[in-house]
């Protein structure tokens, strides 16, 4: 639980992350994801409830826990005036890593995040994707048991995102526990074994990506586009089709078990949409269903 004055950022959540697992906190902006991450990172004492990290109490054993965590914050806080390599070696020293080991480890990690060629360049001119990779490398200098990633790929281009995902996946294979927040559904589906969807400081759903889709959405979604401004009129004629119908300004979504069957039924009613898309249900459908389509900010 985390309160700031009268405002509850995290009203009450109950989760257990298992060793070696990739666990995700999903939710719109303001859902309480980052506050949760800060509490797990032992830099924000909970205002109530019980929190144990690696079996220890974050308030009493903060430094001992942080010694075994790797933190990749939402906003990069690399040192712009140091070189790429120095950012890693100076940070490793905070964890008591001996100077020589720090240098060796920095070289390995730069290789791991594909920044070896930039090792002696300053951080300032690096691209966003490179900075993110360096931040991830820095989170690994102490060979952490748990890596906390707060929106690890926000703001990155597709190539950079895929590279980050691939590296995170390799970490997971090495047995490192990943705890991440994201509002990208594809990211959660790619990386998370289990996740919770948060909204307004509470958990609204929990499970594996697959289980959440099965539980909160249908197997397939049919997207129908009719001529502009006529969606409402057509929606009435679709009544009774599928488990749920959602009418958006530009298209109608039919949540159904079998998309092709549903499409045949649409055509049987004599309706001819301008465009049709039959797709599998995604975590995004679950997310929007659970947290609503209204803009939060």
């Amino acid at each position: 639980m985390k309160r700031f004055g009268d405002f509850s950022a995290v009203a009450g959540i109950d989760v257990a992350v298992l060793p070696g697992e990739a666990f995700g906190f999903l939710g719109p902006n303001g859902a309480g994801k980052s506050s949760t991450m800060r509490m797990i990172g032992c830099i924000s004492p909970p205002s109530g409830g019980e929190l144990r990290i690696l079996g220890m109490d974050p308030v009493r054993d903060g430094p001992a826990i942080r010694a075994r965590l790797g933190v990749c914050p939402q906003l990069d806080n690399l040192d712009p005036d140091l070189t790429v390599r120095e950012n890693l070696t100076t940070y490793a020293r905070y964890f008591g890593v001996p100077r020589r080991t720090a240098r060796e480890r920095a070289a390995e990690l730069l290789d791991f995040v594909q920044l070896t060629e930039r090792a002696d360049s300053k951080v300032e001119p690096l691209s966003g994707g490179m900075k993110r990779r360096l931040t991830i490398a820095r989170a690994l200098v102490n060979e952490p048991d748990i890596v906390l990633l707060d929106e690890p790929t926000t703001g990155l281009d597709p190539q950079a995102r895929h590279l980050v995902w691939e590296r995170l996946f390799r970490l997971k294979q090495q047995g490192v526990t990943l705890v991440l927040t994201t509002h990208y559904m594809d990211e959660a589906e790619q990386l998370c074994d289990r996740l919770v969807v948060m909204d307004g400081g509470r958990i609204v759903a929990e499970g594996s990506p697959r289980a959440l889709i099965e539980q909160h959405s249908t197997r397939e979604v049919v997207e129908l586009r009719f001529a502009a401004d006529s969606q409402e009129a057509f929606a009435e004629k679709l009544d009774g089709l599928g488990e749920r119908i959602e009418v958006l300004p530009d298209r109608i979504l039919l949540y159904v078990a079998d998309g092709d069957v549903a499409l045949a039924q649409v055509e049987a009613r004599g309706l001819t949409p301008a465009a049709v898309l039959v797709r599998r249900s995604s975590l995004e459908d679950v997310f929007l269903h659970l947290t609503g389509r209204t803009l939060v900010d």
Partner: protein
């Protein structure tokens, strides 16, 4: 260093990994970080740290000093003013290094946030950065002392004692300035500190003329400034004469400011970092 060889050779899984022992003195790793950054920038500062004392000797010693025929208290004006400028140089460096750099580490580069995610406590972060500021102030003062000595403006060998004095002055000023920079929410408050504390202190704490020539009220204000205590000690050392106030009194006053400031700074750092 103590676990260097343990994990080598064998592949270890996450669960069996050798735990690095935390650094024995975490603040030293923070100091090492600041020195790493300084290693890239010190050259640009070296020229000006030699230039300032040289200009001082030329301007005040031969320029202004020419008009102050009888000197001060029977001492040539250049010799009289050098210890004052030495202490005020330490003050300038101490405050400059504790305002914008500290504020930047909270708000712009977020270096402190990164450090607090590591197993460092607010006290380690403050102590390590403060040690760096101390290093900056003392080296700048040492250069000043060296140059002015070469110009023959330092009379007594006791002058080496000015270095521990300016070190204490630096801590007395920098510690509470750390707290101030941690507490304010906008950098315009930092410029105010120079305008309303550093400049008046430099002008009225006995650097350019004896505080005895100030009116009573102002004089007592001058006695409260940390700079006056350091100036009085430095002047006694470079001239080889007894100070106006007891040495122990001066040192205790500066030490009390340093300790009080450090306690305040750690508290304000914690308030900003742990939320």
């Amino acid at each position: 260093m103590h676990d260097g060889g343990r994990a080598r050779g064998a592949e270890v899984s996450v669960a069996q990994r050798a735990r690095p022992g935390l650094p024995r003195v975490p603040a030293l790793t923070v100091l090492a970080y600041h020195l790493t950054g300084y290693r890239r920038t010190w050259r640009s500062g070296v020229f000006s740290s030699f230039l300032l004392p040289t200009l001082t000797v030329l301007g005040f010693g031969f320029g202004v000093g020419g008009y102050v025929d009888q000197g001060v208290d029977g001492v040539p004006y250049l010799e009289w003013i050098v210890p004052g400028l030495l202490a005020s140089t330490a003050l300038q460096v101490a405050v400059a290094e504790s305002t914008f750099p500290v504020f930047a580490n909270f708000h712009w580069t977020r270096t402190y946030t990164a450090q607090s995610a590591a197993p460092l406590r607010a006290g380690d972060i403050v102590a390590g950065h403060l040690a760096f500021v101390l290093f900056r102030a003392v080296t700048a003062s040492a250069v000043f002392l060296l140059v002015t000595t070469l110009f023959g403006a330092v009379a007594s060998a006791w002058a080496v004692l000015t270095l521990p004095v300016v070190a204490l002055l630096c801590l007395a000023v920098a510690a509470s300035t750390f707290g101030y920079a941690a507490a304010v929410s906008s950098d315009s408050w930092l410029a105010m500190l120079f305008r309303f504390a550093v400049v008046p202190m430099t002008l009225f704490a006995g650097v350019f003329f004896p505080v005895e020539s100030l009116p009573d009220g102002l004089r007592h204000l001058a006695y409260l400034t940390p700079l006056w205590h350091a100036v009085d000690l430095c002047r006694a050392a470079t001239l080889g004469v007894p100070p106006h106030w007891s040495v122990a009194g001066h040192l205790l006053y500066l030490a009390a400011l340093a300790v009080g400031g450090a306690v305040l700074a750690v508290r304000l750092f914690r308030r900003r970092l742990v939320v």
